[in-house]
């Protein structure tokens, strides 16, 4: 039964307070009919007491009146009609068809809030995804079912990096895969760039796009990633597809959340973000993964821009605590014209060990990765010393490491936007670079491996 009220008591920011209500449920979907408008605006119940409901609107409250506005409680939570026909289509951040095509005939209607996956039913991600990018494949391996965000800053080419990953990502087995792409508050150009990239590679027919751009309603952004993930779950767990979900930009999402929170006059946590930001992020990020008995998987790459490149800002910080590592885009490498500017040391893939080794990549992968990390770190330290004291003050080993670090950046990291390297190529390149160093410094590799690979 749908209930209709004309008792809007107050409006503040994105919130409406409706009084005199009865039988309304928490989290219920709400339609608000503003006089003189044909289509109702959508919201949901955020807090409900005996005769009063606080409704959070997904569209702006501009023009809404306390008088004459009709509020209809739909008796159900926000659901997305899903179908396999969503592939190849573009939707708004609120789930409306944007590409001028026909409406989707839903096979199912799914609650966009999703439900937590039972940890017992999960299966540990362990399939290697080859992105064709050495600094990722060798050093910070991405695994199917992982959630691995890109931490970037204003003006850095995170979009190009994400597009390159989306373009080149290969599941070696050649199974069905799809891209679900959602933008939250990015500029029109950015959104268009991604759309074009996807079209260029012919991946459009395997993609679902949800677009909320900067000009769109702020509060709608809270819904957008949930729509995307609901579609992804449907494709992965009911149609056995391997889904790559790209969410950009999580910073805008968090800001929308903060806006609602402050309108509710909640006690803020750090920097004015609500205390439940962690939990809220988790309900999105934890929707990645694999489950027992299902073939499909969801891999997530959320993108966020760190305000002032500050990793300790609540948004990257809380994200980092939930996701299984992060790719950091380095401003330094970018300034020096290297692409992709992945900060190898700052980046981390927590699941790398599950995706590498014999039968997945190659037996030497784990050890050479450790060695490259260690040697590169030492080289960078030597570089710092050289800046202070001059190169002449370095000993032989330090000088070799310094040279190694330079070449590592020039050859290994800087591979360009269009180069795609198979994992073996990347590993061999690593060995080639290690030849520049004295044998005695290769402490992280077992002698058998050095015998086998360093010679060839």
């Amino acid at each position: 039964m749908q209930k209709e009220y004309k008792t809007v008591e107050s409006i503040s920011g994105p919130l409406l307070v409706v009084t005199g209500i009865e039988g309304v449920k928490y989290d219920e979907l709400v339609e608000v009919e503003v006089p003189g408008e044909n289509t109702p605006r959508i919201g949901k119940v955020l807090d409900i007491s005996k005769d009063k409901a606080i409704v959070q609107m997904f569209s702006p409250t501009t023009g809404v009146q306390t008088h004459n506005t009709k509020v209809r409680f739909r008796g159900e939570t926000f659901k997305l009609g899903v179908s396999k026909d969503m592939l190849g289509r573009v939707f708004s951040g609120g789930g409306k068809v944007l590409d001028g095509g026909p409406e989707i005939i839903p096979e199912k209607k799914l609650d966009i809030a999703g439900a937590p996956i039972n940890p017992y039913s999960r299966e540990f991600p362990n399939d290697f995804i080859q992105t064709g990018i050495s600094s990722i494949d060798v050093m910070n391996t991405l695994v199917r079912g992982q959630k691995l965000p890109i931490f970037s800053g204003a003006g850095l080419p995170h979009n190009r990096l994400a597009a390159q990953i989306a373009r080149q990502a290969k599941v070696t087995t050649g199974e069905d895969f799809a891209i679900v792409f959602a933008t939250m508050g990015v500029t029109f150009e950015e959104a268009e760039y991604f759309k074009k990239e996807i079209e260029k590679t012919g991946a459009m027919s395997r993609s679902v796009l949800f677009m909320n751009i900067a000009a769109d309603p702020v509060v709608e952004r809270i819904t957008t990633p949930r729509l995307a993930l609901t579609a992804a779950e449907y494709l992965a767990f009911e149609h056995d597809m391997h889904v790559l979900v790209i969410l950009t930009d999580m910073t805008n999402y968090a800001e929308a959340l903060r806006e609602v929170s402050s309108a509710r006059k909640e006690v803020p946590g750090r920097r004015g973000y609500p205390g439940y930001l962690y939990t809220d992020f988790a309900t999105l990020y934890e929707r990645a993964g694999r489950v027992k008995g299902k073939k499909g998987t969801i891999t997530q790459i959320p993108i966020l821009t760190m305000p002032d490149d500050d990793k300790t800002h609540p948004i990257p910080d809380l994200t980092g605590y939930i996701t299984e590592g992060q790719f950091i885009v380095s401003r330094d490498l970018n300034t020096r014209g290297l692409f992709p500017p992945v900060d190898v040391q700052g980046s981390l893939s927590r699941l790398w060990s599950a995706g590498v080794g014999e039968g997945k990549t190659r037996e030497d992968h784990a050890q050479i990765k450790d060695q490259l990390f260690a040697s590169y770190a030492q080289g960078k330290e030597a570089r710092e010393l050289a800046v202070v004291l001059g190169e002449s003050s370095l000993d032989d080993s330090d000088r070799a490491h310094l040279k190694f670090a330079d070449e590592f950046e020039k050859q290994f990291i800087n591979q360009g936007e269009t180069t795609e390297r198979a994992i073996e190529e990347s590993l061999d390149l690593g060995w080639k670079l290690l030849k520049m160093l004295p044998r005695g410094t290769l402490k992280r590799i077992k002698p058998e491996m050095i015998e086998k690979y360093l010679k060839s």
Partner: protein, 593 residues
């Protein structure tokens, strides 16, 4: 009045917080069932006849006017054979049963499943006899729960008297296995299943001073910053510094007899990894699969927030229960910051006056209460028994900044601080425990233990190691300013040895099966060998005109890195002899010039 007959109705819903009226007779922390969906909740505030309830399940679709049913019980853990090898959510529902009840990989709502298999029959062997006078905590019998653990059935707290009847054979946990006649002539039937309210510590006779280290096999911890059996420690660190890996490697290899691992508001895949790995991994202390001694509690970050708040209490109650049997138990909570955040969220919704950073004012008292449940204690019961409960909590300070409330509240009550360092993790030095800032207040307690069980000079070696590392950090400042050449040979030696300590001793690969666990004797051997080179070297390099590069070229010095591959104590002896020989020959060589 029968709680079932009350006519409580919901008057407000705000996320996990629900308020209901007509609750005048309700108790604090009483368990209630909310709405016809029977969502599980717990009363956390009473105000007149209005109760605030934190609901352990998602509240979407719930609204005012729906019923709330009281159960009359406070939130309790079910304690009986069958706990080990289980994996629970925060309120002790087995995740496996939730899966079969939900029929899906998602967690459905309103599922009622018992924490313990009530149908399974266990072989009960009596330890007490008819006519024995027993008091609370006394053993009545035991059940071989897993190949590792004999589960003692104890007289429940609050009961004492004479054993009137005791049975032998196979029973379910709800069947009576003994009857005790109390002083007043009352007959109490005892089942294997007991309940205990999770927020109340289980009683012990008295606490005693912890003087035995818990061996973890992690070299940095055992040698530099050891923790006691019955101690409390914390691992704070920014993300990516390796909190979870460190916690897991302690859970895997430490010499506690029972492990309770709480994944509190952390990643789902991490729990899956533990689930996959523990049954396969072999405990180096017993040779049995690790799972046989483990209870897992997994309330991941996307599962309901209120259940996350309860999960640490559920875990510690189970841990105390095994401690009461006389076992040494280790509890890992990863991460207590998420638990604190859950408290903050509920507190915020109750519109309480916030303390620092929005956390409730009772944050530090709750934290202290939790860690105080750790300890080594003389247990209840007329037999003399000692049990220990070690608690290790991970803390996830925002941005790695330890001045935040949760870290500070934790530091005040824990005696071991393993400070994980983002900069070390960045250099891929793991475990990234910073040797300059971390501490253990137990070191003094262990001196006797080390002398008697490892070697008389263990404590000295440890102190010397710490000195060298401290010295290194000072010298590095100088090097950064004026370069290596400004240092004397002796200082160069210190740097060289400090590097070796860091790279060849403290660095430990938790993913390499040979390296992940080092027994104390081997730890001693490696460290002593490195320090032998230092001591021998010190006499030589201080000679005038000594070329330090000569020293670096020595086989012994080059071979320092191979030390950690040695498994036999004899090998260290021969290494030390060789070092002595080689370095003294250097002495002869230079003096001959």
């Amino acid at each position: 009045m029968n709680p079932e007959e009350t006519t409580s109705k919901i008057i407000r819903v705000s996320g996990p917080l629900v308020q209901a009226d007509n609750m005048r007779d309700a108790k604090m922390y009483e368990v209630v069932r909310v709405s016809s969906e029977k969502l599980l909740g717990e009363i956390i505030e009473l105000n007149g006849d209005i109760a605030s309830i934190q609901v352990y399940e998602e509240t979407a679709g719930i609204g005012p006017g729906e019923i709330v049913v009281r159960t009359g019980k406070t939130m309790s853990a079910m304690l009986a054979p069958g706990l080990l090898e289980s994996i629970y959510d925060g309120i002790q529902r087995p995740l496996k049963l939730i899966e079969s009840e939900s029929g899906d990989h998602f967690i459905a709502r309103g599922i009622e499943v018992a924490g313990i298999d009530l149908k399974k029959k266990w072989e009960f062997k009596p330890l007490a006899q008819k006519g024995d006078v027993v008091s609370e905590g006394n053993f009545l019998g035991e059940v071989q729960e897993t190949t590792l653990i004999a589960h003692k059935i104890m007289v429940p707290p609050g009961i004492s008297g004479t054993v009137k009847e005791i049975k032998t054979g196979e029973f379910t946990v709800k069947e009576t296995v003994a009857v005790i006649e109390t002083k007043d002539g009352e007959e109490k039937e005892i089942q294997m299943l007991q309940y205990w309210p999770i927020r109340r510590p289980r009683p012990v006779k008295n606490k005693i001073f912890p003087d035995q280290p818990m061996v973890t096999g992690v070299r940095t911890i055992d040698t530099l910053f050891p923790i006691a059996k019955g101690g409390a420690g914390c691992i704070p660190g920014p993300f990516g510094a390796g909190k979870t890996v460190t916690q897991q490697s302690i859970a895997k290899y430490c010499d506690a007899e029972v492990i309770v691992y709480i994944g509190c508001g952390e990643r789902g895949n991490e729990m899956t990894e533990v689930l996959d790995e523990f049954p396969k991994l072999i405990d180096p202390n017993t040779g049995e699969p690790l799972m046989k001694r483990t209870v897992l509690i997994a309330n991941t970050s996307n599962m309901p927030v209120a259940a996350r708040e309860a999960s640490v209490y559920t875990g510690i109650t189970i841990a105390e229960y095994y401690r009461d049997m006389g076992y040494s138990v280790a509890l890992m909570a990863d991460s207590t910051s998420r638990w604190a955040e859950a408290m903050r969220e509920i507190s915020g919704r109750m519109e309480e006056m916030p303390g620092e950073e929005g956390y409730p004012a009772y944050l530090s008292s709750r934290t202290a209460e939790f860690y105080e449940r750790a300890g080594r204690a003389n247990l209840l019961g007329s037999e003399k028994r000692i049990g220990a409960l070690t608690v290790i909590g991970a803390v996830s300070p925002p941005g790695g900044d330890l001045s935040e409330p949760v870290s500070q509240a934790t530091l005040r009550v824990t005696k071991c601080f393993w400070g994980l360092d983002g900069a070390l993790a960045y250099k891929k030095h793991f475990p990234s425990i910073n040797w300059l800032t971390s501490y253990s207040l137990y070191v003094e307690n262990f001196k006797d233990y080390w002398t008697n069980n490892i070697a008389p000079d263990f404590a000295q070696n440890r102190a010397l190691t710490m000195n060298i590392l401290q010295e290194e950090s000072k010298l590095m400042e100088i090097v950064r300013l004026v370069g290596m050449e400004a240092l004397s040979n002796e200082e160069k030696l210190t740097l060289e040895i400090a590097r070796s300590i860091r790279e060849d001793y403290l660095f430990q690969n938790a993913f390499d099966k040979d390296d992940a666990y080092t027994p104390p004797q081997i730890q001693y051997g490696i460290l002593k060998s490195i320090l032998t080179v230092y001591k021998e070297g010190k006499a030589v390099v201080s000679k005038e005109d000594f070329n330090f590069n000569e020293f670096k070229k020595l086989e012994t010095v080059k071979n320092l890195q191979t030390l950690k591959n040695k498994k036999d104590p004899e090998e260290f002896k021969s290494f030390q002899d060789k070092a002595h020989e080689e370095i003294s020959s250097l002495c002869v060589g230079t003096s001959a010039d």
